[in-house]
Amino acid sequence: MPDSEAKIFDYDQIEIGEELGSYEYTLTQEMLDNFRASINDPDAVFPTLAVKHDATAFAMVYEDNTGGVNAGNEVEFFNPPIPGKKIRVTGRIADKYLRRDKPYMVIEATAHDEDGRLLEKLRTYQMKKPDEVGKKWHPQA
């Protein structure tokens, strides 16, 4: 949940380059095990994908009642995170634009571990008019 200081999200008010702050958490073996089970890949090493670093950074700053649909993801892997180590994440709003009259927002996050190892860079393209996507998908089919 967003903290008590969370701002109400307003697409028109967000700014490109706006910092979403940073946060830390400890990656546990249980998180890694659950991630591996969820995707049925016992050799997967980036449970950070499911932690959703960028979306988490955003959710810690903004209370978003609009929601959105993930239109795309870009991720770069540098070093697998190690269970038991703290992970520090910094996030920002990388871009916003209109495409076919629909509002998009790009959020990104960079993760390092407590030893300063760069782990992952993640970028999410989110369309902030989710009902339009639902119509396109023919949800009743």
């Binding site: 991630f35 050799d43 959710a59 929601g67 795309g72 870009e74 770069e76 989710p130 009902d131 949800p139």
Partner: protein, 143 residues
Amino acid sequence: MASAGIENIKPGQQIPSVTKSVTQETIEQFENCGILDRQNIHNNPELARQRLGTTYPIASGRMSVAFASESLRRFFGPEVFNHTGSVNLKFLRPVKGGDTITVTGQVAGQEPDANGARVTVNLICQNQNGHQTAIGTGAAVIN
């Protein structure tokens, strides 16, 4: 496996495909890996209905990123992919519980990189009905 050497990689070469069964249980298990206890369109049918108009929650697109990562890791080898790999996917259709997703890919080409050669792979994620759910690219650097 590509990690055997750049000389063995040719444009058009297929990478190992992976096929994954997606259930509402695995969708929710994926969501539960997060550090925030959040209700969203992946784990709450009512929110999915309100926001998307769907009658079902949908899987996070990041699950498909993870599936594609497995396919690429098998091709490049973990020592290469886990340290130089990347995935870039555009999501085209929803994935929901009951779907089976297959990731396929083929080598698009390579270009010089400061640390070797960056090999790019075109990726397709397809559901059990033959519909593309995501397309994009993956890459890694081989020295």
